[in-house]
Symmetry: C3
Subunit: 371 residues, 3 copies
């Protein structure tokens, strides 16, 4: 336990762990308004996500390159997955879809944008490995395309109402299998046959000494359970909290869940950018976004057959489709130049801000039309 | 005739020629179900397409570079053109449009994707000439944009019903002229003023000894006539066959016609990829796709005024528009990196599979709404 | 005054200044049909735009690099701004939006396309600085995305009618502030922190001897006032003239206003291309397009609160959205290759021609549906 306590002492972010017992107690006693419980759960998830990411990396370091990379890649978005599972169990499919879309957009715009800005404020011009970034952007681009096909075809074609529901759910099921197969082949590619191209991004916690493996493995299990418990509070309170804070559910799912769930990776990406290691930042961001599209989203579809009230499909509401497409096109465009300066960050962040502003202003009734 | 017989002996693909008399006899005697005749016609077209491609190349080699290149470029998609003409004469505009869209998507995704995969399984990383590929991808991108404008503007703008039909057909007519002029200028560019950039792709049959010119010219005429006859069987049986096989007409036009009509070019592209000559594969694929958009599609519009029951316009159904746009954007993105490995092929093929799955699952009534 | 008279003598374009008194007199006396006055105002604006551009550059040269660059950048699209202001005051929001969209499309397609063609007819292959062009294309891409978000979200989402109008105008207002802040930061970037990347484009009038500063400053004020007067005639007559010439208002705003307002910049861009200085041409075109999106459009929204009958929002009609997106994607694609030949120009111009043809053929009633 000593390394854990040392970590907590030296990392102010982890002091937020104090909110974990608070939120669980509040939920148990029914104390506080839903808004309070919502805010507490947000504050509690951030340090848990950081611990989870630390534990995953420590286990990964100990198990050798191939298995470690696999663990890192599969558990990298564990927090998002656990939150989404809680929402899935509660049948809140709109929240699940908004958080999938939001995680892709956040990782494709906010994380690189902020990295370019923070890095650019310290360094005049930053270069990053253009060809690696391009391969990663291409993966993300193709993954996003595949994810969006059902939404687009469903929307634009005059599918008659009788056959429509089976069509969309059949397509989503088939597509999820295809995406997971692709993800598995992608693992083979990045961790085995062509790992030399993806080397640097795999070790993004290299500055920290890893935890002993038993501590790491225990923490992995324990923290996942705690995240699950806190996520239940989060999901149970989000609707009422959003109403009372004047936020639309789309805004909460898209912006808040994505920022909260990805806090730990963001910290790594930003610190990489400030150290002029933009390869690392871009790798983390694009990798996380691709993983959401290729792995988290299809797994949620498949699990919805087991734990959801009805099967969930992959049709997103049109605004989310546009935002995902634009985000992915934007980062492909930017990544293909291989260079960055502070203003590139400003521009990418501006696109993100425009999306956030749109979702914030969108009348709440409008989002009721989401499938 | 000897070179022809030698070719047939050494090329198992050409043994399928046995189905040519079978399908024509079956049609003449009214034997077999429409489904049988449909399958026989598919099997018969594949070797005919290969012969046509062989004959075109042999004539091209003999007539010198400029005329040869022109012949190669103009007759390269002769099979697709003849099939489409048969469908045009029968007034099956939906099938014509689906086969145009499918030929673009197949050449932009399936052919390069399979080439990257087959090449990547033999070679660790393959490089191809980035700047040539980029010029070709840009040509294809712009050609596709031009082709899609009527569909998009027609769909999105609130065109009143009274003026709409004239608007779309006027626009399609004007656009077809513009596309053909552009195609002619493109010939001038690739074959005359800047031919050094496009050199390698022009001689993709260089491993085979060309046929004598009289044989080649005769075959060109004879095989075209036979393809036309078989295409009539194909078009006459496709509707009933699709029904009984549970395929939508969109699937047949988009996937089956495109794969059947392009079989010969695919064989060249794949063999190029395995020999680590990706330039060749990418050149064949992008060239064929651009030719469909710039030449075959507008020629069909113009010919519809002569041989169709009513003029055909260039408005595609929305799903096809999205698929063409995505296909072209995908290949532009991938081609701009100039590098490939097996997983790039997997990803590109995945996008193609997603489209195929979508069209396969699309309820048949949905496609009845196609214009 | 002598340098002015010398300029007028040596520049045939400026002889068109003779139409300035003619059109003002015609308007004053109510002489001529609206169509005549419309055509006269078009002929009068072209040389005025050239004078305005000359005056701005002369002032800019005298005030040193930073202020000069700022002036050049801010006043570069002064003609378009003045015309749009006249339309704004008259409440012709459709014309304002069409001219914004048209200016972006013209600068992103027509100007580079014609530059590539004119340059390519003299030089076999032209190279331009790929990384500068890519940064500029990325700026334009992101600016356009931001500009288009309200239109897209507004269109695709099922925004209920009650909240819709406030939503769109709130979003447009917030977005306009965001765009102007971004523009200001962009000035800081291009003129101060990273000016070495944008150097060449700033001095595009370097062949001409600048006017004395008092003449230049006086001309700046005087010509702006005259442009404003002529613009009023233009705006007052455009509707009736378009009707009697059989042009749609969309065509006039999109094509005519953009070509007229940008005549001076186009002359510089084309002459640069012929001198094999494509960096200059691409820089002028992409810079002007980005400026319209980041500065002119939001300023018009903000000013509409002061001088328009009702606030103007940023929702464009769907066809314009598609054309802007396609234009920006096309030029990004082309600019990323860093090379050009005459046929690239043909292709880019073809896309522009397709748009022009579409707008020309669009039934006039269709455009009445524009918001």
């Amino acid at each position: 336990m000593r390394p854990l306590i040392a970590d907590i002492r030296s990392t102010p972010l982890l002091w937020l762990l104090v909110f974990v017992p608070v939120v669980l107690a509040a939920e148990h006693m029914g104390a506080g308004s839903p808004t309070t419980r919502f805010l507490l759960s947000v504050l509690a998830i951030v340090p848990l996500a950081a611990l989870l990411s630390r534990a995953t990396e420590s286990v990964a370091v100990k198990t050798g390159d191939a298995v470690g990379g696999l663990l890192n890649a599969t558990l990298g978005n564990l927090t998002e997955l656990v939150i989404a599972l809680a929402a899935l169990g509660a049948g809140q499919y709109m929240l699940v879809k908004a958080s999938i879309a939001g995680a892709i957009v956040t990782n494709a715009l906010f994380v690189p944008g902020m990295s370019f800005l923070l890095g650019g404020l310290r360094h005049h011009v930053q270069e990053f490995n253009r060809s690696t970034a391009r391969i990663q952007a291409a993966l993300l681009f193709l993954a996003t395309i595949a994810l969006l096909v059902p939404s687009v075809v469903h929307k634009v074609d005059a599918v008659p109402t009788t056959g429509a529901s089976t069509f969309t759910s059949d397509l989503s099921l088939g597509l999820s299998c295809l995406l997971i197969v692709t993800y598995a082949l992608g693992m083979l590619f990045t961790l085995r046959t062509h790992r030399e191209f993806f080397g640097s991004a795999a070790h993004h916690g290299e500055d920290e000494t890893p935890w002993p493996v038993t501590l790491a493995a225990t923490m992995l299990v324990v923290v996942t359970v705690v995240v699950a418990l806190v996520s239940e509070v989060f999901v149970a309170s989000v609707q009422e909290a959003a109403d009372s804070l004047g936020l639309t559910p789309a805004f909460v799912g898209f912006i808040v869940v994505a920022l909260v769930g990805g806090a730990a990776e963001m910290a790594s990406a930003f610190s990489g950018a400030r150290k002029d290691r933009l390869d690392l930042s871009v790798g983390i961001a694009l990798g996380a976004a691709a993983q959401i599209a290729l792995f988290v989203a299809p797994v949620l579809v498949l699990l919805s057959y087991a734990i959801g009230p009805t099967p969930m499909d992959l049709s997103f509401w049109p605004g989310a489709v546009v935002m995902m497409m634009v985000a992915v096109l934007t980062i492909s465009q930017v990544a293909s130049s291989g260079k960055s300066a502070w203003f590139v960050g400003v521009l990418v962040l501006m696109v993100y801000l425009v999306f956030a502003m749109t979702l914030y202003l969108l009348p709440p009734m409008g989002t009721a039309a989401m499938p």
